[in-house]
C-alpha cells in the first residue's frame, strides 16, 4: 500500500521523465538555476548532444517519494550539503562514479562518496543603507536592538546558520560552536524574536532588504551580489561569514545515470565552475577555477574573505538534523 501511494505520487510527478539521450537537472529556480543552465547545461548539451531538461524547485519530499516508488525522474539534483549527507545515510543517493568525474581538483570539503560540490557560499550580514544609520560590523550587532533598531531578517528553515549566528553573537568562540548549545542559542534568539522577519527563499531576502522592509539581515552572498549588480544601496559585512555548500547528487535509481555522471564532470570542471561563479557570485568548488576567472569577480568571492570565516559543520548538522529541526520549528511556533 505504501508503494501504491508513493507510486501514484511519483506517477503524477513524472511529467519530465527523460529519454535516453536526455536527462533532468533539478535546482532551486531563480537566478541560481539560470546561471547553472547557462554555465553547465547549455555547453554540456552542445558538446555531448545530451539534452538537459530543467526542473525544480528542489523538494526533498519529492526526491524521497521518487526513490521510494522506484520511479526516479530526476537525474541530478542540487541539494544542501547537510541533506546530502543524511540522504546518503538513508540510502537515497547513488555513489558518484569518480572514473567519470575527475576528483583531484575538487575541494575536499564539499565532496564525498555520494555528492560533488555545486558551489559554496557564505552567509553574510547585509543591510539597506537607507534604513540603517551606522555600519553593523558583527552578528552581535544584529542582536543589539538599541544600537541598531529595525526589523532583521533571517533564514526561515531549520538549516545551518542562524543557530550559529546566535551563539557567535552571544560570545561563543568560533572554534567552540560545536556541539551546538541549542538552549543558549534559542535564549539569545528570544531577545530579538519580535523583530525578526523570516525569509523563505533567496528572492524574498533580496526583496526584504532592497525595500527596507527589513533593515538588515543574514543573506546568501550571491543574493547580495545580485542586489549590488542591480544598483541597490546595500552594505555588507564579511566579518564572521559562515560558509556552507550546495552539492550535486544523483538520486538512487536515476534512469540516466551515465548521462548524469558526465553532466557532473562538466559542472564541476574548472570552466563550468568559473563561469557559474562569474554569473552568480558564489564560489567555485574546483580549485583550478579561479585561474579562469576575472580578477574583480574573484575579489568578491567568499574565499577572498577567509579572515574570520567560519565553516558551518555539515556533518554535525547531518547527524542532528531531525532533532534540531523539531526544536527549531517548536521555537518558531511559540
Amino acid at each position: 500500500m505504501k508503494l501504491i501511494f508513493a507510486g501514484i505520487l511519483a506517477g503524477l510527478m513524472a511529467t519530465t521523465a527523460a529519454k535516453a539521450d536526455e536527462m533532468v537537472f533539478t535546482s532551486w529556480g531563480g537566478t541560481t538555476q539560470e546561471a547553472q543552465t547557462k554555465s553547465w547545461a547549455e555547453p554540456f548539451s552542445a558538446s555531448s548532444s545530451i539534452k538537459v531538461l530543467q526542473d525544480g524547485p528542489t523538494d526533498y519530499g519529492k526526491l524521497k517519494a521518487m526513490v521510494d516508488a522506484k520511479n526516479v525522474t530526476w537525474d541530478v539534483v542540487d541539494v544542501e550539503m547537510d541533506f546530502a549527507i543524511k540522504a546518503a545515510k538513508d540510502g537515497l543517493l547513488e555513489p558518484i562514479d569518480f572514473a567519470v568525474v575527475p576528483k583531484d581538483d575538487l575541494d575536499p570539503r564539499f565532496s564525498n562518496e555520494n555528492a560533488v560540490g555545486s558551489f559554496y557560499y557564505s552567509f553574510v550580514l547585509a543591510w539597506n543603507k537607507g534604513a540603517v544609520s551606522g555600519e553593523p560590523a558583527s552578528w552581535a550587532d544584529m542582536f543589539d536592538t538599541k544600537k541598531f533598531p529595525g526589523k532583521r531578517t533571517f533564514y526561515k528553515w531549520s538549516a545551518p546558520g542562524v543557530i550559529e549566528i546566535a551563539l557567535l553573537a552571544d560570545g561563543v568562540p568560533a572554534d567552540k560552536l560545536y556541539p551546538l548549545d541549542l538552549d543558549r542559542a534559542f535564549k539569545k534568539l528570544d531577545t530579538i524574536k519580535s523583530d525578526i522577519v523570516w525569509w523563505g527563499g533567496g528572492a524574498e531576502s533580496q526583496q526584504l532588504i532592497a525595500s527596507g522592509e527589513a533593515a538588515f539581515g543574514q543573506l546568501w552572498n550571491g543574493r547580495v551580489f545580485a542586489l549590488e549588480k542591480d544598483g541597490a544601496d546595500v552594505g555588507v559585512s564579511w566579518n564572521q561569514n559562515l560558509t556552507a555548500a550546495d552539492v550535486l547528487v544523483v538520486p538512487k535509481g536515476a534512469k540516466n545515470k551515465d548521462a548524469a555522471m558526465k553532466f557532473l564532470a562538466a559542472a564541476t570542471s574548472p570552466t563550468g565552475q568559473a563561469e557559474f561563479a562569474e554569473a552568480s557570485g558564489y564560489a567555485p568548488i574546483n580549485t583550478k577555477a579561479k585561474a579562469e576567472m576575472r580578477a574583480d569577480v574573484v575579489k568578491g568571492l567568499p574565499d577572498a574573505h577567509v579572515d574570520g570565516q567560519i565553516n558551518l559543520d555539515m556533518n554535525y548538522w547531518a547527524e542532528h538534523r531531525d532533532e534540531i529541526a523539531k526544536r527549531w520549528y517548536a521555537w518558531q511556533a511559540k
Binding site: 505504501k2 501504491i4 501511494f5 519530499g61 523539531k326 511559540k334
Partner: protein, 286 residues
C-alpha cells in the same frame, strides 16, 4: 466495485444504473478513496506500526498550539467574513437585478484571479513599507508603521478577502428569498430598524449564514498559501506544518497523521452542516 455492480441482485434497472456508474466509481475509488486509505495506513505504519504518530501529535505542546492556531484563525476568519459579507449580500439582494448582476460578476471575477497574485498584492499593501502604512504615515495619523503583516491581522485580512465570495453567494440567495413585506410589516408594527433586523432578518437569514460560515470555516482549516505568506511563524497553521513534516523533515508518518486528523475534523464539520441546515437549503440557496 464494478464487478459487484454488474452482479447486482436487485432489479435490472438498478444494476444497469450501477453499471453505468462504474467509470465514475472507479475514478472516485482510485483518486479519492485509495489515497485517503493510503494516508491512513501510512500514519499508523511509518516508521513502525502503531499509534505513535498520533500520540506524538496530540501529546506535544507545539503541535497542540498549531492545532489551536488553525482553529483560531479559521474561527476569526469566519466571524469577520460573516460581518463583512452580510451588508454586501443584503445590498445585492435588494438592489435592481441589473446592477446586482454587474456587482456579482465583479465579485466572481476576483475568485478567478490567481490566489498567489492576490496574496502577494496584499503583501505589497500591508507590509511596513507598504502602501497602507506609507499613506497613514504621510498624512500623520501614525508615526510608526502598524504591524499589519506576519501576524494574525495579516492572515485575517488576506483570508477574509479570499473567502468573501463563498459567504456572499449563499447569503444573497437566502436573503432574496425573504419577503421584504415582513420587514415593512415589522416597521408598521413599531419595530425599530434594529429590532426588525434582529428579530426578522437575522433569524430568517440564519440558514445562509450557517451554510456560508461552515464552508468558509472548513476551507480555512486547510489553507496554506495565504497563512504562509501573510502570517508569522507563531501563527503557523496545520497545512504549513504538514508541508514542513513532508518536505523538510521527511517525516511522512507524522505528516500523514496530521493530515488525517484534519480530514476527520473537516468531515465531522461537514456532517454537522448537513444536519443543521439540510442538504437542499444549504446548496440550493445560491
Amino acid at each position: 466495485m464494478p464487478v459487484q455492480a454488474q452482479q447486482g441482485i436487485a432489479s435490472p434497472r438498478t444494476s444497469a444504473g450501477l453499471g453505468g456508474l462504474a467509470p465514475a466509481l472507479i475514478l472516485i475509488g482510485l483518486f479519492f478513496v485509495v489515497p485517503v486509505l493510503a494516508l491512513l495506513l501510512r500514519s499508523v505504519t511509518d516508521p513502525v506500526a502503531g499509534l505513535q504518530n498520533y500520540a506524538a501529535l496530540l501529546g506535544d505542546g507545539t503541535y497542540a498550539r498549531v492545532f489551536f492556531n488553525t482553529f483560531l484563525v479559521a474561527f476569526v476568519v469566519t466571524i469577520v467574513t460573516v460581518l463583512v459579507a452580510f451588508p454586501v449580500a443584503w445590498m445585492l439582494a435588494i438592489m435592481p437585478p441589473a446592477l446586482a448582476s454587474l456587482l456579482f460578476s465583479i465579485i466572481i471575477l476576483s475568485m478567478w484571479t490567481n490566489l498567489l497574485t492576490r496574496t502577494y498584492a496584499w503583501m505589497v499593501l500591508l507590509q511596513r513599507t507598504g502602501v497602507i502604512n506609507r499613506a497613514l504615515m504621510s498624512v500623520g495619523i501614525i508615526d510608526q508603521p502598524l504591524p499589519l503583516i506576519n501576524n494574525l491581522t495579516g492572515v485575517t485580512i488576506g483570508m477574509v478577502y479570499i473567502m468573501l465570495p463563498f459567504m456572499i453567494l449563499p447569503l444573497v440567495g437566502t436573503l432574496r428569498a425573504i419577503d421584504p413585506m415582513t420587514l415593512r410589516a415589522a416597521a408598521l408594527c413599531g419595530a425599530s430598524p434594529f429590532a426588525a433586523f434582529r428579530r426578522i432578518l437575522l433569524p430568517l437569514s440564519l440558514p445562509g449564514i450557517a451554510a456560508g460560515g461552515l464552508m468558509v470555516f472548513v476551507m480555512s482549516l486547510g489553507y496554506f498559501v495565504t497563512p504562509a505568506l501573510l502570517g508569522g511563524t507563531s501563527n503557523m497553521m496545520l497545512a504549513e506544518m504538514i508541508a514542513q513534516m513532508i518536505q523538510s523533515l521527511l517525516n511522512w508518518g507524522l505528516g500523514s497523521a496530521a493530515a488525517f486528523i484534519l480530514l476527520v475534523v473537516t468531515m465531522a464539520l461537514y456532517a454537522l452542516q448537513l444536519r443543521l441546515v439540510g442538504n437542499s437549503r444549504a446548496t440550493g440557496a445560491a
